[in-house]
């Protein structure tokens, strides 16, 4: 027996929504999916008229759907936004070069200007060369830290008012779980926020897809025949996050609504007064937002340039010792050079 669309439009249902368990036909699904994102944007006041918004585009399904829906809603509901695409080229051969082609396709399809910023030009290093230095472990640390800052740098360059990222409900729920597993209260506090950053010194990030399920995003892209890139990064995926992800997928199989429940739980968590809060400041070296001094990106970069790639990984005291040791050796060599010159 075929199932009919819940909205009683008379059509046959094409899918069952994981969030609510309702069966919908294709057209009703599109309408519902778009209406929800509009609701998220308008109820949380994510944008203001006349703003310039950068869509962080990787070419993957989330950012492709985000760009598509934002353009659509901007026209339908007259947000009055100027949308631009912002991509980061990490310099990963066989992965990012291909996905950037997809972003270029999006640029042409949606008639949005595109800005690509590369690690090469910002830091003088590509991920390929970084991996050659550090190996397959911890490389995601570099990529993640650099990308976060690269987005900020790109946004500053473009002069935008906010950055929209494609984080979906699954990503946020997964992050809540991971931060509980790691005991990271600082991130646990802010990972469910729909808007982070902002204020005088930084550009806010917003997550319009916060309440959209990954499954629905895939279905939306599939039924709308959007062009997206769906290959996994060639470098080993982050192992620990993988556990949280696998766990979440298992939970979702048992009860699809669990993803929203975890986000809700994450928002309801409160912390004891004795737990330290991170203070957002400005890195003295690069003057970008950071809660540490100097910021992680600067430490990692210094490690790479000094030939000590493990510098920013693990304890700070270990890194300090590494630097001291290297400085000592350098001083010794210099003195040896001096002696030679005397002759």
């Amino acid at each position: 027996m075929p199932i009919n669309c819940k909205s009683q439009c008379g059509n046959r249902a094409a899918l069952k929504r994981p969030k609510t368990g309702d069966a919908l036909c294709k057209e009703c699904f599109f309408a519902a999916f778009e209406a929800e994102i509009h609701h998220t944007i308008s109820s949380s006041n994510l944008f203001r008229r006349g703003e310039k918004v950068a869509v962080a585009a990787s070419g993957g399904k989330d950012s492709t759907v985000l760009a598509h829906v934002l353009k659509l809603l901007n026209e339908r509901h007259d947000y009055g936004l100027e949308l631009v695409l912002l991509s980061i080229d990490e310099g990963i051969t066989g992965y990012r070069d291909d996905s950037l082609e997809t972003v270029k396709q999006n640029r042409d399809d949606y008639q949005m200007p595109l800005k690509i910023i590369s690690y090469e030009e910002l830091y003088g290093w590509t991920m390929d060369r970084i991996v050659a230095q550090i190996g397959r472990s911890n490389n995601c640390t570099f990529c993640g830290v650099f990308r976060r800052q690269a987005l900020d740098r790109g946004a500053k360059l473009l002069g935008v008012d906010s950055i929209a990222t494609g984080h979906n409900a699954d990503d946020i729920a997964e992050t809540v779980l991971m931060n509980v597993l790691r005991g990271d209260t600082a991130r646990l506090r802010r990972c469910t926020d729909i808007r982070t950053g902002g204020g005088e010194d930084s550009i806010p990030r917003v997550k319009p897809l916060k309440y959209s399920y990954e499954k629905e995003i895939v279905m939306y892209a599939h039924y709308k025949k959007l062009v997206y890139f769906s290959t996994e990064c060639v470098f080993a995926p982050n192992a620990y996050r993988g556990h949280a992800r696998a766990f979440l997928k298992d939970l979702e199989k048992v009860r699809p609504a669990v993803i929203m429940d975890i986000i809700y739980s994450g928002e309801q968590l409160r912390f004891k007064d004795t737990v330290k809060k991170p203070v957002r400041g400005i890195c003295t070296r690069c003057s970008f937002v950071s809660s540490q001094q100097p910021c992680k990106a600067c430490v990692l970069l210094e490690g790479l340039n000094r030939g000590l790639p493990k510098l920013g990984i693990g304890k700070k005291s270990k890194g300090d010792r590494m630097i001291a040791k290297q400085d000592q050796e350098l001083a010794l060599r210099e003195r040896a050079n001096l002696v030679k010159n005397d002759f």
Binding site: A31, H39, R182, Y211, L251, R255, G266, F271
Partner: protein
């Protein structure tokens, strides 16, 4: 959850666990000197991250954890009336033994409280053999002067019996709870519901026996699992109370639930059972529905996940458990509490819950939603506000009770997705 002794203990309880082959890993049967007191001992206890010590030093160390948990937080007033919940597991026996010991010390070190014990019998729901009344009576003789009582889960609190007058019955009320559980479609909801019911029963037993405090025997791994489970169930606001030393939600705050074993780990429990020759009444600690496998419910899945992760990352349990230490419940003064679980309700409308309700409304409206877009948010808001005496998680249970949702459809959808979507390319 806890798998202590699951394989080790046969029908005769922990008796055969005392033969040399099934000694818990870490206890060495060889003569050596205790690194703590220096005396020579034929049995050395080697806990992780500790040097080998003799039985006496080990017992002092573990018992101190119990006393320190109660003492440091000053949660137990002098001469409090305490109800100890016994479920037959190794953990609950350890708690009983420690409390008994703390009461028999000299006046200076004595723990000043009056304790009673209640055994919560849940065999009728779990479909296993009733507890051996004889061994329960033997326990009550061993731990005099504690009074032992028995209550059956699902029975009214008035059917509480002293161990001397107790004989297993099959009361109608228990069936009634069983029938109610059957109505809930998912095992997740059943386990969640049962956990709250159990707490409510314990609270009313405590009130009946005029006890202001209840001792529960959860150890660190139980609490780590509980924290993750609470988060998965949408109980984030009250998760802190589920894992804290003190939970004051019972009976409107009149009964305080304490977890004095919260700092113990599985190994310490195993060693203690061995050192004191305790005989758990049950094999392991089986929860309702646990035999249905890992993927049967969120609770079972979480428990299996924590156990597996612990094997690869040894600090998993302690990290999660310590995260639980850092959070506090989301409460405001004059806040209403949930009708079922007594957790504080949200003080303001949650955007996430509104998003869920909005999803429901737009799904019903479908393509016609463009005509009445604004009303839908109003509708969602009204629906959300109408569920105001239950918390979100308890409301989910309620929803399963109310409507037998088209459960039969589920397998048809599975078929549909197999045909329709190329699911291989998900990230």
């Amino acid at each position: 959850m806890c798998s202590i002794g699951e394989d080790d203990f046969g029908d005769e309880g922990g008796a055969h666990a005392m033969v040399a082959e099934s000694l818990p890993a870490g206890i060495v049967l060889s003569t050596g000197d205790c690194t703590k007191c220096g005396t020579s001992s034929s049995e050395l206890y080697k806990l992780n991250f500790r040097t080998p010590e003799c039985r006496a030093c080990f017992l002092t160390y573990v018992r101190h954890k119990f006393r320190a948990a109660l003492g440091a937080a000053k949660v137990l007033p002098r001469d409090a009336e305490v109800l100890l919940v016994l479920d037959g597991s190794a953990e609950s026996l350890v708690l009983l033994d420690m409390l008994h010991f703390a009461q028999t010390q000299n006046t200076f070190k004595r723990l000043h409280c009056n304790a009673r014990v209640v055994y919560v019998e849940d065999q009728a729901l779990q479909e296993r053999d009733p507890v051996d009344v004889e061994s329960l009576q033997a326990l009550s003789r061993q731990y005099e002067p504690f009074e032992f009582h028995v209550i059956e889960l699902g029975a009214p609190p008035s059917s509480l019996r002293n161990i001397k007058d107790y004989s297993p019955t099959s009361a109608e009320e228990i069936n009634r709870l069983g029938v109610k559980l059957e109505k809930l479609r998912s095992l997740t909801a059943r386990q969640d519901y049962l956990q709250q019911e159990r707490k409510n029963l314990i609270a009313s037993v405590a009130q009946q026996l005029h006890c202001s405090h209840v001792f529960e025997s959860s150890i660190s791994v139980d609490l780590a699992t509980q924290l993750l489970t609470a988060i998965a169930l949408g109980r984030g606001g009250s998760a802190a109370l589920d894992v804290a030393l003190l939970d004051d939600r019972l009976a409107g705050g009149d009964v305080k639930l304490l977890r004095p074993l919260k700092d113990l780990n599985e190994q310490e429990v195993q060693f203690y059972v061995h050192a004191q020759r305790l005989k758990p009444l049950l094999k392991g600690r089986l929860r309702y529905g646990q035999e249905r496998g890992e993927t049967a419910s969120l609770q079972n899945l979480t428990s299996a996940f924590v156990t597996n992760l612990q094997q690869n990352y040894a600090s998993t349990v302690s990290t999660v458990f310590r995260t639980g230490d850092k959070i506090t419940s989301n409460t405001h003064p004059e806040q209403a509490s949930c009708f079922h679980c007594q957790s504080a309700l949200d003080s303001q409308l949650s955007d996430t819950l509104l998003a869920i309700e909005y999803s429901r409304s737009v799904s019903e409206a479908g393509v016609s939603l463009h005509k009445n877009g604004e009303d839908l948010e109003e509708l969602a808001r009204k629906r959300l506000e109408s569920q105001n005496d239950l918390c979100h998680a308890c409301h989910r249970i309620q929803m399963e009770l109310d409507s037998v949702v088209a459960a039969a459809d589920d397998h048809r959808w599975a078929e549909h997705y197999k045909r329709a979507l190329p699911y291989g390319n998900r990230r």
